[in-house]
Subunit: 461 residues, 4 copies
């Protein structure tokens, strides 16, 4: 959780280096210092503090000048990370320029530094999420395109159902991912705002210059200026969590699908093979769905972490008591897990190994029963739906009991052969002929993505 240069034992499995860097202690500190430097500039520009103070303050605002271990101990007493940071920064600045030291953190409160610093971290995180999600959408679009006509068994309740295509599956993943892109985009305008309120949120200490300083600060940091300080209104931050929670849910769904396809008894698609990946010490043949496991793990953990962010919204008056504190390690954890899951899915689908032949073979496992609907529908046109339904149901039972193919059973059935020829039956029992709109739906998803790309980062319906 701490030192950006060390790597926790499970970090490479569950997160990415890039996201860990953003939420490392050192970067967290740096982003608060970025706030302090920008505040000094904003206040000098507004005439609140002397221009001469800027340079010394800026010079002190470098995280590498701070002793993180000492800071951590002080945080344990102070109750937040900004109080000791401001104290240390003030001492640091004062050493080189005592006059400038007086103007450190002028008129601000610790939450201003922590929250604006957090927003800067979130901005960096969003940039990565948007880039990686767009990249995943590219992979998904390719998969959709490549396999829009590759039939495999549909599966409902983990039971084989009429066939779908792998491209349709991918299109479903794609369509959801595009919606997540739209959500992340919408989030931006609400969360990328400066926080500056001073002790109680009125900026009273800045006298008549408060609003000007806030405007300058927002401009300096390229953040929006909100109507009013939002320190104890956490919906902006909590929405970051819920948006990522939704994303992780979709990633978990993809991982579930892939891991089920990888089962020994199914064997239709596989995470890419990689040296050292997913091997088992005792079972040389095994290729474990390591990426899926990491993503599924995130899909179990993140919902609960999101619930912490929502529960923590009930913050007292002008500053929360414990509930604000509950966010500090939770939102970074959500970002880390979401980034890791996104990277795993991207890697996994980018190199997905597909076995269309096995898909075909598996479609034969029920001896035609998954295509019962196809025949029912065809027969219904001749003898009506209910009679067709009953006839096929009975034949299906017979096929099951006698372990025969439904097609064979039906070939012996005069009511069927009266209306459907052997060729027609053969055609009806080819799964590729009963994938309905799978291809059309896949193309609609691709078209929607093209449309979204054409219209900015965009909305999708």
């Amino acid at each position: 959780m701490s030192d950006p240069t060390s790597t926790g034992l499970f970090d490479p499995l569950f997160s990415t280096d890039a996201m860990r860097a953003i939420f490392s202690d050192r970067t967290r500190l740096q982003r608060m210092l970025d706030f302090e430097a920008a505040l000094a500039r904003a206040e000098a520009r507004a005439g609140v503090i002397p221009d001469s103070a800027i340079s010394a303050i800026e010079s002190g605002c470098r995280a590498e000048l701070f002793d993180l271990e000492a800071l951590a101990r002080a945080v344990g007493l102070a109750g937040n990370s900004a109080i000791p940071m401001v104290k240390a920064l003030t001492a640091l600045v004062a050493k080189s320029d005592p006059e400038a030291g007086r103007y450190v953190h002028w008129g601000a409160t610790s939450q201003d530094a922590m929250d604006t610093g957090l927003v800067l971290q979130i901005r960096d995180a969003l940039a990565i999420f948007e880039r990686d999600l767009e990249s995943l959408c590219g992979v998904l679009a390719r998969l959709t395109e490549d396999h829009k006509a590759t039939p495999l068994a549909g599966r409902t309740w983990l039971q084989q159902a009429p066939p779908v295509t792998l491209g349709l599956k991918a299109a479903g993943w794609l369509s959801a991912s595009e919606r997540h892109r739209a959500r992340l985009h919408e989030l931006r305008s609400r969360v990328l705002v400066v926080q500056l309120g001073g002790a109680a949120g009125t900026l009273a200490a800045l006298g008549e210059h408060g609003l000007q300083v806030a405007e300058n600060l927002a401009e300096d940091l390229h953040l929006a200026l909100p109507d009013l300080p939002w320190h104890s209104h956490r919906d902006r931050v909590a929405e970051t969590a819920t948006t990522l929670g939704l994303l992780v849910g979709t990633l978990g769904k993809i991982a579930r699908d892939v891991s089920l396809l990888m089962q020994t008894e199914v064997g239709e698609a596989f995470e890419p093979a990689e040296a050292g990946k997913g091997g088992s010490s005792t079972m040389p043949h095994k290729r474990n769905p390591v990426g899926c496991a990491a993503v599924l793990s995130a899909a179990i953990r993140v919902p609960a972490l999101v619930s912490v962010m929502l529960a923590a919204m009930v913050q007292e008056h002008e500053r929360g008591m414990g509930n604000w504190h509950a966010e500090w390690e939770t939102l970074p954890e959500i970002c880390r897990l979401a980034s890791g899951a996104l990277a795993q899915i991207h890697h996994m689908l980018g190199g997905l190994e597909v076995d269309p032949a096995r898909m075909r073979r598996n479609l034969e496992l029920t001896r035609g029963l998954v295509l019962a609907e196809a025949v029912t529908m065809a027969l219904a046109r001749h003898i009506g739906r209910m009679p067709a339904h009953h006839l096929i149901q009975q034949a299906s039972r017979q096929a099951t009991e006698q372990a025969r193919h439904l097609r064979e059973v039906l070939s012996d059935e005069p009511q069927v052969t009266a209306h459907l020829s052997a060729d027609e039956l053969q055609r009806l029992f080819d799964p590729a002929n009963y994938t309905g709109l799978a291809e059309a739906f896949a193309e609609r998803a691709l078209a929607a993505r093209a449309d979204a790309l054409a219209h900015g980062s965009g909305e999708s319906g």
Copy 2:
């Protein structure tokens, strides 16, 4: 949970009649039947089923014709609510028109009925949430306007801090509520879509007419047509949960604030008095914050329920195994609790009793210490920030030890009186003179709301 005509023991406390009606078993059934009737019309229009079937099917699609108890028992065996509903509807229709009976639910799957029915319920729920939230925003705008200059103690960590105004507090509540309006608005385009996929999501049973039927159905129900069926992609539904989760977080924050203000030792604002409300059998004088308790209860429960919706997104292949089932009672519960919390806050703030005199008196509890910052800032202009800070800190300690007002202590201090006159000190210790931008921020929030109203249901920053 069940009969719309009965009221559970805690229903009036935690929810609203209107929301319970939307999610009652009978309405749930009716919305599925609305889907079936619309499907029949859509299919007839596309030439898939005969026009003549419409009327008998429509006649059967009335919830009051069904035995809910029997249906519930059948659900226990079938594993979802649509299978027995379709069976019962088919029997019902067939009784009056055997031919039409064949075309009930033609080409659709049970999840199509359940999900589209759910979307219709969500549409009704959103209408109520948007109406009630807009109404709450109106109340909040009034409160902001009325009290933008009513000072009370700011409170951080539950300790008194420099003063704010009640209008600023209300503006914070308002600004967050406006953001929730924007979120609900954005949700609409993603969740108000039809679901129609057939057995595995390919609409194969509808042959070449699938897309036309889907378009007709969407048009008939005034819902959008999505790129492709979304049955096992639950982000649309889960986002409904997260959006309400965020809303409930803000409502909880308001309730926390009000309940703290109502404390015997604070006594600054009160839920409206009402016959039979909040009375205590043993303590005749008490007025319990019943509304706050109900809302805070929702703010504890809803985050966990939202986590269920997120965790349930990991749905297998073309239909979830248990995770889909996990949604069925959870999303309605979220809607019920959110609607109840919203109604309670609306009622509570609409009739909020405010005691500005007590607010003033409480501001004197620290004998001027909450205004130490004001004096520090004033003094800093004369003797520099650090000296001013140290002087006031020392005087504050003295004031605490001697139980004297800080103003008095400072009046004895030559370093202070050299720069600040008695009148100035008096002025500095008037909380109303140290509310900074409280009023300006309140007005910004009101302006932002006016702007949002002028531009549709709209975005807020």
Copy 3:
């Protein structure tokens, strides 16, 4: 949630009639009334109220005399269920005996009635859980016994691993279930206690008789008397939730296993067939794992509900504000879901259809690779572990590439045939010969159960 005579649409799927009856509004009311009647008896015995009041109070303490709908409306104003109940009871009693009316609820507070009533409900619920769990353990013991030597593929990461036996699987389920029995037993002494504290928990209103009344009350209700009232200490109640949460986790694990075994591509075990159960309208052959889905749904929902109970423990001073309220519908929901899941698993395993032949066939899917470890170990005795490991790994790769059985590949390998005869190889590749301690472990679990039964409801290690 409400009327004990009505059944919610999903009630039969997710819960049991018995548990719903215990937590119906009417029973909830009755249990509070049981408290009131017992309190009157306890107080009369202690000389606090006249003996003559008992009979009229007892007569009024029948839930059927109350208007639940009116009560619910009053709860919405009063903020809890006991205040209006006491008011209505007092009126009822006073009508028949004005003198007795004065002594209703004497010296008690509403939480006393609600909490003691809840404990009475929990006692009834525990009795059902213990009975049903014991019954499940019986089923599991039979399954363990019957199938201790029935081999099937072990599966790790959803990949086939060396064989286990179905009896070993069942023994794992059994052993966990026995631990849950021990946990439920330990819970009893902590949760089955009376709550009687009066307005603030001091029983001050009862003067010198307080303790005597509390003792009488506990004796009357066959509950233990705790050290002191526990109204705002919710660990007793929350532990009920966590204990059931653990139980549901195990039930979910069983359901996951069974649902995976039921997959079309696996087909090794099945929920019992039943008229109307798990059928699909479009796929006549399907037998959906309806019971598994219901249990898995509970396993997603209950953890979040448990988190509500834990989060709600932070109750303010002598009575919680909202957090107490958060329990009222949550703990009953946990009980309902846990009881439903337990019933589903009991039913499912009681009639589990097992296909040992398919298990055998599936063990051949990897063409001997799942038994690579067996051969490695046998060979290691002759040529050392690492050489054996490498040799088998290479042969496994060859077998995979050439789609040959590992046994055949090894038969061509002189390093192998030098040490292992064809017969030996044949024997090594029989899964039944490589189930290790599966049978011994199964017997240990059975012995532990026998031991636990012999020593009371007992501890298990």
Copy 4:
């Protein structure tokens, strides 16, 4: 999360050094290595591997010999921490003794190392929890004893109620803490067990020696031997989480109480003052409840983390897919947060500053209304309960309207003065005379603790 020598920014606030050390990556690795060394000894003793291999394996089983960073990267590919650990250990051992290298991890699977290692960590954690909890109970017993007769306002719904004593409050905290001691004790027998199952849980690779090796291993590690391997049955581990979750709930309740007492407007008790603790940069007088905030933060986070552990129980067949992974960082986080919260509460209550005079003054805030019940009860003995109730209710209303003390209002009331003398009224309005059984209950809690101590770590009712 990682390097035991570094300290994360919030670690000292939210956790303890001791618990972080137990769950550091290095210790986690060491505990797995402890398993490997013990396994080698156990196998040699059973004659499975040569005695000569022990020493080289033991020499390699020191965490400081491993490159944690490299291990972490390998974990990212392997999907768990034991696979690369075994590989690295094997290489290490083989370097010094190639023969011994062959016997590393003989017959075991990676989960055996990870789970047994985890159990060893849990054992160390439990020792700390039990020690610290016992120490807290000592502090609580002192507080109970010292303040059993110190009156302060009872508070229900955050409104003043009849008086309690601070000792009664502490006794409630104590009684709950003693129950947690009992729960931790009961947990021991279920969780402190060895895990050894081999590839699929049958120990097949150990042939006829499996059980003997397992027994030896358990003996060597001073752990119990379970009926059978429990790798995919996580109730043992999840119960550790729920037990700590219950504990944290109580700690959160204490923190809530203390933080409310510390409010500026209440000011009855305070966290101990400490250099650098809880100071505010802008408000020199403030003493922020830093310890309370840290604990309340844990009380929000831990319930959700517990829900992860419960949700993760649904592990597939013989090894979980993602759900097992979800435990790896979650249980340590629970332990860290629980230990931090426990330490904070211990420190806070050990030095709690109490202001009995302020408690008395606050009891006067309602001008006698909190003692209305006392007078009602006294009066009821003369004129009956209902008349007394109505009379006092009316007088209370009058007192409120006229801002007079209830005692004065009643002194003007002939119906009162006819039965109660001025002295009696004076006595009735002394809060110290209306604390009922507060002292008796406090003594019962102390007696129960003494009893528990006398009977081992023991059960409490």
